[in-house]
């Protein structure tokens, strides 16, 4: 049935109303559902360690610290300086370990190798290890994510 002066048939009108209603409902239901299922994960902006804990590290050794839910590795270089890495292989996310005697980082999952500066030198890893930015303020060793002021 089409009324005079109407652009729609009654069926089109009803379908439009119902469809629009369902669409709006679906969207308003989907939004909280997605928010809930994909909660935001916050990587920490910075982690603060007491510097005294790291001062007496031997040269060419590493120390574990928690970087959010991932492990971080603080490495004391041969010149006494420090470097910090996210100790997670850039290939498929396994935790790496530092082999002091070989001066290499090693990921046991797929035989991934990095040299002591974190550059990938063997196996499947496509990128170097992620570095974190270090600064010492008073008693504290402050470890920051790149790009955080």
């Amino acid at each position: 049935m089409k009324l005079k002066h109407s652009l729609f048939t009654r069926r089109q009108f009803l379908n439009g109303i119902l469809g629009g209603w369902f669409g709006a409902l679906a969207a308003s239901v989907l939004y909280p559902a997605l928010k809930f299922v994909f909660p935001p994960t916050r990587e920490p902006d910075q982690v603060i360690l007491p510097f005294s804990d790291c001062e007496d590290m031997k040269l060419n050794t590493v120390k574990n610290f928690p970087w959010g839910s991932k492990p971080g590795l603080l490495k004391k270089n041969d010149d006494g300086s420090y470097t910090a890495f996210v100790a997670v292989c850039t290939h498929l996310d396994c935790n790496v370990t530092y082999l002091s005697d070989q001066r290499k980082f090693f990921c046991a999952c797929h035989d991934g190798w990095y040299d002591e500066s974190g550059t990938h030198i063997g196996g499947p890893p496509p990128r170097p290890l992620r570095r974190l930015i270090l600064s010492i303020e008073g008693e504290d060793l402050i470890i920051k994510r790149e790009g955080v002021e």
């Binding site: 994960t41 991932k70 996310d93 396994c94």
Partner: protein, 359 residues
């Protein structure tokens, strides 16, 4: 008269309401063709057997298992040591999973090679591939639950793989992990998939699959069909069912023997901060994919090697999925390339698995 009459009365009373006489009549008249490939017909019911065992032992394990960072490993240890006969239940659940997946592979390969997926059984095949994927998802989520070093690393690797898929990949990883990293939330979520979400999917698709198999009857292999002569047939009831029961008894016996003599071990609880252990290996049915990822070069031209590997695997799954549309010849035609591809796949998978095991 009286007892038999009453029995008939109850049957017709039930049938008036349920309308199941059609089903019983169908099963009474159902015939199973007999030929030299008939043995593969038993793989389907073997899968059902192992799945039933999985359901029952799974319901039981759920009574004591805690899907939390603190409780997972401890509660499995408790099941193994404190709960009466808990180690057997866990061992049967673990072994039955392997048996089930092995039979799913055999079932699909036999159908691939005998070309039973051809018209009109395209949808039966596709639902079967769905069931394979759900079974693998069961295996993958279940592997994490004891929460030891090996299972944690395997899960980190497994859930990171989708990330290589452009655009959607990172969201798949986040959906699986409940965040950017594998944490206690991942464990809780995997448990939810394993005990609550996947069972419903599997049962629904299984119902469709079994309906389709019944509706279309048993397929006869190309080689036997073209001889033109009438094949011998075995009545489904009781002859075939009795034979199936014998097969079930033998398989149950093997399963329980293996489960009792080789219970799965339990390593110490996983530590999210510890380096990945050496000798990391997923369950045996993922070994060939694992090895493939391991040997892929990190860069091919300018593209990330993993991305290519993952896209190749994805392509393989899609091709497998749509096999009946790729090979859409009539049922009675031969298909040498398809047969060769099946054997090639078997050789490839076995070789890669062995390589991974021996290296």
């Amino acid at each position: 008269m009286s007892s038999k009459g009453q029995k008939m009365g109850l049957r017709s009373w039930l049938d008036d309401r349920l309308g199941v006489s059609a089903v019983f009549g169908f099963l009474r008249d159902k015939k199973i063709p007999q030929h030299r490939h008939s043995v593969w017909y038993y793989t389907g019911s073997a899968i059902l057997l192992f799945f039933a065992i999985q359901m029952i032992t799974g319901f039981m394990l759920v009574f004591y298992y805690n899907p939390t960072l603190e409780g997972a490993n401890t509660s499995v240890a408790r099941i193994m040591t404190e709960i009466p006969l808990g180690w057997i239940i866990r061992s049967v659940h673990s072994w039955s999973a392997s048996f089930m997946i092995a039979f799913v592979f055999i079932h699909l390969l036999s159908i691939w090679i005998t070309k039973a997926y051809r018209k009109p059984r395209e949808l039966t095949w596709i639902s079967g591939v769905f069931l394979l994927l759900i079974s693998l998802a069961f295996g993958f989520t279940g592997y994490l639950l004891p929460w030891d070093d090996l299972s944690l690393s395997a899960t980190k690797v497994g859930t990171d793989i989708p990330r290589s898929i452009p655009v959607v990949g990172v969201w798949v990883t986040r959906l699986l992990r409940g965040g950017d990293d594998v944490t206690g939330d991942t464990l809780t979520r995997f448990f939810g998939f394993h005990v609550s979400i996947l069972p419903l999917f599997l049962l629904t698709i299984l119902a469709v699959h079994i309906y389709l198999v019944q509706k279309q009857g048993m397929s006869v292999p190309v080689s036997d069909e073209k001889k033109g002569k009438k094949l011998k047939e075995l009545p489904f009831w009781p002859n075939f069912v009795y034979r199936e029961m014998v097969v079930w008894l033998i398989l149950t016996g093997i399963l329980f023997s293996v489960a009792i003599f080789f219970p799965p071990s339990l390593e110490k609880a996983a530590d999210l901060m510890a380096p990945a252990p050496e000798g990391l290996r997923p369950e045996w049915y993922f070994l060939f994919l694992f090895q493939m990822l391991k040997i892929f070069p990190s860069k091919i031209l300018f593209i990330n090697g993993d991305t290519i590997a993952v896209l190749l695997i994805l392509l393989g799954i899609i091709a497998f999925f749509f096999l009946p549309l790729i090979d859409s010849k009539p049922a009675e035609k031969k298909g040498k390339i398809i047969t060769a591809a099946a054997y090639l796949f078997i050789v490839f998978a076995v070789a890669m698995s062995l390589w991974s095991l021996l290296s």
